[in-house]
Amino acid sequence: MISQKPPTIISSDRTTLGQTNSPGVEYFSYDNRIVRNFAIATIVWGIVGMLVGVIIASQLFAPAANLGTQYTTFGRIRPLHTNAVIFAFVGNAIFMGAYYSLQRLCKARMFSDLLSKIHFWGWQAIIVAAAITLPLGLTTSHEYAELEWPIDIAITLIWVVFGINMFGTIINRRERHLYVAIWFYIATFVTVAVLHIVNSFEMPVSLFKSYYMYAGVQDALVQWWYGHNAVAFFLTTPFLGLMYYYLPKMANRPIYSYKLSILHFWALIFIYIWAGPHHLLYSSLPDWAQSLGTVFSIMLIAPSWGGMINGLLTLRGAWDKVREDTLLKFMVVAITAYGMATFEGPMLSLKNVNAIAHFTDWVVAHVHVGALGWNGFMAFAILYWLIPRLYRTPLYSQKLLNIHFWIGTLGILLYAIPMYISGFTQGMMWKEFTPEGVLKYPNFLETTLQLLPMHQMRALGGAFYLAGAILMAYNLFKTMAAGSLLANESAEAPALTKAYTPTGSDTYWHRWFERKPIPLLIGSLVVILIGSLVELIPTFMVRSNVPTIAVVQPYTALEVQGRDLYIREGCVNCHSQMVRPFRSETERYGEYSKAGEFVYDHPFLWGSKRTGPDLHREGGKYPDSWHYHHMRDPTSMSPGSIMPSYPWLLTQQLDISTTSDKLRALQKVGVPYDEQTISYANADLQKQAQDVSARLAKDGISVKPDREIVALIAYLQRLGTDIKKMETASK
């Protein structure tokens, strides 16, 4: 496969430019097979993830779309959708794009074919494990990190494999300086590692059950520090890296500004890491942490726009090409969507905007502009660019490509616009009062029902987008069939000399970092750790940040089991447990949530979206029988409800074999259960279950005390009631 023609030197060393046959030229080949494998995985998982998305979107106006089984209800497969799209679709797209560009930017084959293979198959195995465990209800409930601890460990190992393979390639490079795309890959690698590890500290109970080490406010802060930066360092920085390689390649134009790329790289990774608390505005998080979240989000506008303008200005002088080249159209929509989302993000972090948007579809619209526009469209463009090159054949159909672009764009619009309207409507309806001074829509359900037409439009938009992706799959598989894979692409470059004295522009300060991958890695690490530590450490160490409340007690054994059912069924995906200090919320739900009430909540369950009402003050609001009927058939208690029914909770027997182990694990992470409580856990549990069962019997409902519904009712009736004891005591 090795070319015999005299090599042209393509090194960046000025002295060797233009010379031929200088000594030390090396012949090698690029590994295209691994790129192809990741490309296929991207296509397949992309379609799976989007399909699940359309299904859950349909369930929000037609609950029957859950097919009546517990494995396909919204609560359980919503995490499947988010994980599939983020880690399977976008993740594989990152690896595809990075493995192709890294080899060429380093003028070196990937460090180890074996590591590449382990990385590929390991990652796919993790995805399959997720696709099995999430519908089974095995979840830790941390958003975008729902996978249980054994899978978390597997993720860590595979991520390290990726890191070794990447750094090995960088060390073996035949190019003196690292191009900006690689800086972004490095920052991605190190930050995702830190985020994943810190966010995954769990105390195992069994192979498939664990409790988070952190509780309540601290847990929420860690989760959103992770969750927000998963957006930053999994959905943003790697894609910026990809943009820096593929956009100039597609447009055949120089990158607009080297200086801008330096500025926005460092500013972006430094500032992004602080912004997580903007997910917790008006929550029980300390005020200072909320304010840091707000101001760092505002300061993030310019650094994130740095990437956008560097991309758009790279197209300067090539706009006539954009008109003809569909790939560039995909890129322009992607970059524009990125610009819109990164402007909207800071605006949503302003408290008064957040007060309306949070917990509504507005946030759903916001993330989907990013996911469908920025990540989806760029992944599509890269796929369309790569596959014909890997297979040395033109694309099967330009026409289908065009249709995909338009149907995809239409899909985004049909998705986003109704969701913005829906979010705004819902936010305003929650807050509206009549002249009498009472809530205009006291019944939460009214606000939900108002949104159904918008949800139908959204599902239609999603279906359009999915249809586009299917067209792409057809087009690309046809292309593959028409060509043959160039598995090992031969290349040549002079070896890098050890001794090097920088001259000219290479003496610029940042050039040093570009020659030194390890200091670049350490520099990125330091920069992202500063913000993380400033926010996390005081929240963990300073007691006044979480004022304790004496009457708040640990959950009973039955309530712990009920809480685990709540987690298993993914109730947190639709119900929040955070009454915010607004008049509209305290009128609707009761006293606002205090930090001290969550000290035994491993994990926190504040939620991020309200499709149904908040449940933090649910305890004691309705009789047990109300909850029973509500689970059996939600529409019997709330006519028109879009909550699915949970008949299996009424018939399934509660698994109490692990009760003591659960309490023991919780004790280890700081819940003050004494030895007696732990050893008599099941006796206590059965006693409380008898009481619940007896109360239900009084209302004419015969249910055995060992059924799951009993535990869930016990938990729901406990929610937010401890603080009421304080009122009674003070009276």
Partner: protein
């Protein structure tokens, strides 16, 4: 700075007080000379800094002065864009897999955006956490609630000031009963059924009552609720006039015998209803 404060307080001090410039003690003299010394020092340091800056600029960029001024429009200066024809001069000598980078400066508007967001952040933190107490959310909530309480009080005074547990009467005009029905359908059907036949909550159409069946007792039950049995207090969501309307509607259901009615609970109290009627 010291000096500024000295002069400042001198200028705006009441006429009766002494001028700061009139030295009356050794301490004053020392202060004044220190202040003057500081001022001279400041001026000297500033002059030195500006001089050094010029020198540095000249040594680092010796040709800068010899180049002719570039004719750029205001728009070009704000956007920081150069004509495409100059692109060749901006190309950096490196290429990565064929990708060339231009050495364009960061656009001035972009830098101003960045600086202004940093300024915003500093001011925001200063206002809320240095000047203000830092107890932002709780404060905001207390204020919001105080305003709401006041509004509600005014409103109730205006429309329903005279209605309370002791003065409540049964309303019989169709308009009021209809208003009561609307409220009932909105708030009460989940527990008491659409026709008041009882579901989780008791049957409201028979003559048996758990907490009293006369107009005053029903008004009281709705207003205060029976928390231990799951009946919530409605006084924050409904005003007394509305509660009176609902009470009247509920009592008007007496003897309607809807289908699927729940078994009687509580005590028979038809006589009191009859009396109220």
């Amino acid at each position: 700075m010291n000096l500024f404060i000295l002069f400042h307080s001198g200028l705006f001090a009441p006429e009766t007080s002494q001028s700061v410039l009139s030295i009356s003690s050794g301490e004053d003299l020392l202060l004044l000379s220190l202040a003057l010394l500081l001022l001279v020092g400041l001026v000297l340091v500033a002059a030195m800094a500006i001089y050094l800056l010029f020198i540095l600029k000249r040594t680092l960029n010796p040709t800068a002065t010899s180049q002719p001024a570039e004719p750029r429009t205001l728009w070009q200066r704000i956007t920081g864009l150069r004509p495409l024809s100059q692109e060749k001069d901006l190309m950096m000598e490196h290429a990565y897999d064929g990708i060339v980078e231009l050495d364009n400066p960061t656009p001035p508007w972009f830098m101003w955006l960045f600086y202004s967001t940093i300024g915003f952040a500093a001011i925001y933190l200063l206002i809320f956490h240095v000047i203000g107490s830092g107890d932002i959310m709780a404060q905001e909530y207390t204020k919001e609630m105080a305003i709401a309480d006041q509004q509600r009080e005014e409103y109730i005074k205006k429309v329903a000031g005279s209605i309370n547990e002791n003065t409540v009467t049964m309303l019989k005009d169709a308009k009021s009963v209809d208003a009561g029905k609307t409220l009932f359908t909105q708030y009460c059907t989940a527990c008491h059924g659409e026709k008041g036949e009882g579901k989780v909550g008791p049957n409201l159409t028979d003559v048996y009552w758990l907490h009293g069946g006369n107009v005053k007792a029903v008004f009281h039950t709705i207003t205060e609720g029976v928390p231990e049995k799951g009946m919530i207090s409605w006084k924050k969501q409904l005003n007394p006039l509305q509660i009176q309307q609902v009470t009247s509607y509920v009592l008007s259901l007496q003897g309607t015998n809807p289908a699927g009615a729940k078994e009687p609970q509580g005590e028979k109290e038809s006589s009191s209803v009859a009396m109220a009627n």
